[in-house]
Symmetry: C2
Subunit: 353 residues, 2 copies
Amino acid sequence: MSETSALPAAGAARVAALLTRYRERVLAALRETVDGAGVGYAGYMRYHFGWQDAAGNPIAEAAGKMLRPALCLLCCEAVGGDAARALPAAVALELVHNFTLIHDDIEDSSDTRHGRTTLWRVAGIPQAINTGDGMFVLAHRTLLRLADAGVAADRVLDAVRALDDACVGLCDGQHADIGFEGTAHVTLEQYEAMVAGKTAALLGASAAVGAIAGGAEARAVDAFGACGRRLGMAFQVQDDVLGIWGDAGTTGKPVADDIRSRKKSFPVVYALGSLPTAERERLRTVYEQPSLGEDDVALVLRLLEAAGARDASAQAAKRWAAAALDAVREVEMHPDRRADIEALAAFFVDRSA
Amino acid sequence: MSETSALPAAGAARVAALLTRYRERVLAALRETVDGAGVGYAGYMRYHFGWQDAAGNPIAEAAGKMLRPALCLLCCEAVGGDAARALPAAVALELVHNFTLIHDDIEDSSDTRHGRTTLWRVAGIPQAINTGDGMFVLAHRTLLRLADAGVAADRVLDAVRALDDACVGLCDGQHADIGFEGTAHVTLEQYEAMVAGKTAALLGASAAVGAIAGGAEARAVDAFGACGRRLGMAFQVQDDVLGIWGDAGTTGKPVADDIRSRKKSFPVVYALGSLPTAERERLRTVYEQPSLGEDDVALVLRLLEAAGARDASAQAAKRWAAAALDAVREVEMHPDRRADIEALAAFFVDRSA
């Protein structure tokens, strides 16, 4: 697992370069899609993306990483395709991801995202639900434009199927995640099944759809799909680590924010499964309260430390990242693109924001 | 317009027969799709469809008319296709329609639908939003099964495109409809643009997708699409009539319910556009209040009567129904299927529930 154990400076530079390489193209196509949709809810979409303020005035763009589009275009190039062919898919994936954010913010009653007021707080719940729906279907319609980019009809259908399957998984994972709030004990298996839907499915589809657009054989498409899903697992576990021990200045969220919101994230689920009975019961009891005070938060942090939950999480993320690279080890690709995928896997695990 | 001016008993029997002809097949396929999806939110979907109660016990099925699936299968047969080929599309259309109902009920804060507690009141807003999302993507995935039913890849893509375009229109219409609440004056043009999205787009897609699955040429597909959209306009205007003057026992809603909820429906929009200034201002002023008392409702009903709004609505619905039949007048089809479409158009206008 040497390729994922630490991210050397060269790796960080490679990830920055690859994200930059795709970002401008995707953003331009995304803006064209949103502005060209000819729909009344376009302004709400622009607000959500951080392109305009609540009054409709253009603002300096928020710097989203656009990981899903980047993974999609990278996998297209990895199988020897021209990234331009996968561009409609990259836009579709970013639209799907953002539709889930709009609905998640309503479902979680979140007031802010990346330091900006959430859409539902600005537009009200009815328009925010509808804007999410509208963004979702716009994503679907945009994916069909793969046909205009030169992808054959049966391959476009494969791509649509991959995205649809991912979105079914996404809603299933979200259903489980909402259900976790009312569940005292969540097992690692339940956690992994939830994340497989909520986070991993769409990253899996990002990689698979990129490979499909790039002209890959079915076996390679499956390999990239597995790679993307495992990257998604790694990504979420590291996200959970940052949600507890991340630096507030870098993540944009207060330290231990996920504890305060009683999230059943990987470290907590791990601790619930590995602490001795007495400590486990303390953790469970604290977490069952409707809200946590600062003493409770400190207690939870001590119990997580006692369980070795931070190390266990870091190791789990690394295992998933290594497994992701294993999935495509037998697939032929240009060494530069393999190095990109390796750097991306390492970044997913080592990132601090 | 003799075919739409009144529904003879033979027409009513024909509509009942055609709805029955398709209903059992669609329902069986719909249940198979929901139960076979393998998702945790299937129980919420079953609750919404009226197949189980809030505790999960099976209940006697609610008798949905399934108009969109019926229109889809009818148009498939009208162009000489086997209805079995369009069955996945029929299921997809019913899923899309019901996804919009689930989200509409949250957006309108509706407590009941067809006499049953709405999903969000049973499951909470987060799970209800997510179940709607999940039903939407299940619809999409089901549509792809047209390929398994023997429809060629490029035709499946045409069907997906037709459904996606309709859903973009649907969200756009919903955006306008929510916006109407805060708008004092809505013109007939604005009303028609809203209904063209909110109601007509999906009925248009129902007809078009049926024709696509049935193997129709592009020109016939367009004709059926136009027919379905115009049927949708007729359907909505008649829905608006029933929302004000419908019999409570038949519609399941109190008389004048749409007035009480200050809906900018066709009769009100018509009256706002045609009453003399003094009466128009009275109507506008009453409607601008945050809630309406029984005296207000009675006043609105008198003003609508003074404007001749009920007759004007009935005439508008009939014009749309006649225009729907005009759209397919040049399309070759079996006389029995044309008679079915004519009976359906008449039913849309003359129905009392």
